[in-house]
Symmetry: C2
């Protein structure tokens, strides 16, 4: 009961802060962002000490090396956080911009004004840098934020929160603009997911388990992607030299990321030429290959893929490969097994690329490009708070604009409707 009251109180204060933030001037928001960056740098020793407590507790709890790595904040990590805040300060402020102010036959003038969503709840796991990154994007886009990090990073997040509060205050903004939940009680997450009177959208950041839980439990709308099952389709009209380069990059540039390729689709008529070339590169990188029957005929050392492989996000040096009759079969496979994240066609054929773009139902559809480019920075959004594979509101990488909405504004001179 205490937790429910606590979260309700946090929500009320966030909602009030959001009302002020919606019309706060750009310069003041930027001053706060820069002040938070300065505070993070000034308090680096304090943050590192807090992080050491989390790391020690993590080791005692038996967290694996990958998790401890994600949890670690060193001097360089703090400098990166500060740099991120300064970068967000330098981005254009989307709020208040008015577009399409057109005259209508009735005499009124109608346009749209970009406005914040209101209160954004971010629920995330181990990486403490999300605290600063998410705070920056919410603040710049005029939204109040409620941040709930993982229990394993509680000391680090509390330390970062302290710097955020200092920065807000020194710029004359309310501390309620960005609140960090400083309890590890899981009831707080549940209460947050049911705060539909105070919270306008929830953004989960973390593993599949977290995102699935948040999506199922939340009464508040959620912006999320659950899986990143990305495909590269090698068309019979592909430039095979480029195709090898792109396929290898899409798989091996980084393994544990949502925009890495998980399944390679190859048109039958080029499979005999293409597959041995690309397999040689994957062998060098020690990527395990799991192929369909037709793939195995060309690559005899390849493991047999099962039905489950086509729907699997490996996040590891593993790749499934399927030979398809043609592009239509590739598109059907992608729309059926994919996760609507990012899919690429390698082809020099103009009409096929146009068709692939229309028919593949994913948040990013690419031609002759590595799936690894699906990213807010690479797309020029300046920063990203996540990637959405949903269709309503935001789709693809979500930057500042994805944290806003547009309302209509109407100007008249005493106009009445006849």
């Amino acid at each position: 009961m205490d937790i429910i009251n606590y979260i309700e109180n946090v929500g009320q204060r966030a909602k009030q802060a959001a009302q002020l933030l919606a019309s706060t001037e750009t310069a003041q928001k930027n001053r706060a962002l820069i002040a938070i960056a300065d505070s993070l740098l000034a308090e680096a020793a304090m943050i590192i000490a807090a992080n050491k407590k989390d790391l020690q507790a993590g080791r005692e709890k038996g967290l694996d090396d990958a998790m401890l790595d994600r949890l670690t904040l060193n001097q360089q990590g703090i400098e990166l956080m500060a740099e991120g805040l300064n970068q967000v300060a330098s981005l254009a402020d989307p709020i208040g911009s008015i577009t399409d102010l057109d005259n209508r036959p009735s005499g009124i003038q109608v346009g749209r004004m970009r406005v914040p969503l209101g209160v954004i709840g971010i629920i995330y796991e181990s990486r403490p840098n999300v605290t600063a990154d998410a705070a920056a994007l919410c603040l710049k886009s005029g939204n109040a934020a409620i941040l709930r990090g993982g229990s394993e990073a509680i000391h680090s997040n509390t330390a970062v929160a302290h710097c955020i509060q200092q920065g807000l205050e020194s710029a004359g903004l309310s501390r309620d603009c960005i609140q960090v939940i400083e309890t590890t009680d899981r009831a707080a997450v549940k209460a947050l997911l049911h705060s539909k009177n105070y919270v306008d959208v929830i953004i989960p950041r973390g593993g599949k388990g977290l995102i699935k839980h948040v999506t199922e439990e939340s009464e508040v709308p959620v912006i999320k992607h659950l899986d990143g099952i990305c495909h590269v389709y090698i068309d019979d009209q592909a430039d095979l030299e480029k195709a090898v380069k792109v396929a290898v990059n899409a798989k091996t540039h980084r393994y544990g990321v949502c925009n890495a390729m998980e399944t390679l689709l190859v048109a039958a008529s080029v499979a005999t030429e293409f597959l041995p070339q690309v397999a040689a590169s994957f062998q060098q990188e020690q990527v395990e290959l799991r192929g369909c029957e037709r793939t195995q005929k060309i690559l005899p050392h390849c493991i047999a893929a099962t039905e489950a492989d086509w729907g699997e996000e490996y996040l590891a040096p593993i790749l499934s490969i399927k030979v398809v009759d043609d592009m239509a079969m590739a598109i059907t496979h992608i729309n059926h097994y994919g996760s609507h994240h990012t899919d690429t066609i390698m082809s020099q054929d103009y009409s096929k690329i146009r068709q692939f773009f229309r028919q593949v139902d994913s948040s990013s559809v690419m031609a002759n490009t590595s799936t690894r480019f699906a990213d807010g920075f690479e797309y020029g959004l300046g920063a990203e708070i996540g990637i959405s594979t949903d269709k309503l509101h935001a789709r693809g990488p979500v930057g500042l604009e994805g944290l806003t909405s547009q309302k209509y504004i109407v100007l008249g001179e005493g106009h009445t409707r006849q």
Copy 2:
């Protein structure tokens, strides 16, 4: 159980049809719209006969005159439906349009392509013309539609559905593009609201009871507005002649509509001059006035407003009036008691209008204009499927664009991420 299977089957077929519709050419969609219009006109006698069955059943069930009126379809009503379809055919097709195809430093080119949402479920009450109107907007925007009208209009809706099917077929499109649920079993609505694997968005059209029920029950995202509690604020810098005209129009132009004014807010320093003028006009129109204490001092015949009045959508010749100290108090009142629909300031003061626009958290914010203009046609959207007071995705009147989303498209020449 039968109903659940039936709706699942409808959903599956809609999803398949949506995949084809997403890349159907504009000309073919237009041919279907025009063919549906022609079919409605050709089958007018059949539709009117079906409608007579509904009207008779309605009279036997004791529906009131207003409901019977909404249910009635005559020759003129059918001609209006056909005209609506032809108008939607003449609108620009939003699907496939590509914007902002910019070059990035990495060498890739990134843009956004407008795409359909997928499958749209429309749940509506008595008015059978919604069947044709909603079908037209969904089809033009490349979405498959599942339409569920009220049981009191079942014969009319089935007759209109027959014309829709004829039109789709004669244009070579699948009948599954627009499916009308032809059972009056309420379990069908429930099943539809839980079809999150097949339906991308639900749009309820009807009274507050229906919308509340749909919102609470639905697992599928909903685009809706629940209330239309619209305000006109008369500032102390208002042109009082215009203010009287706009206030009277906003209240009396039509009573039963969501964009009618329900509460009039008046700055104290002009209340003594303004209120008697506007009250005289309202008296002529037989509008009942319910005022705060300060209003009653100026208009002694005015009934006392209670706390409940400020949150009431009358949809009737009743108006609540409150005298406020200043604009800040008006904005606080609007954001607290309003429904985020449409609110107007009457003022000649530049800075105040800018402030009102930033601080009033409504889907339409107006200056010196009647709230009655909040409408898809008046805004130039060509048509509207409803008005959204939500913040995510669509806000304000929802036209073709509101039924679409944008995905990212990326063009390269074998680019890889370094």
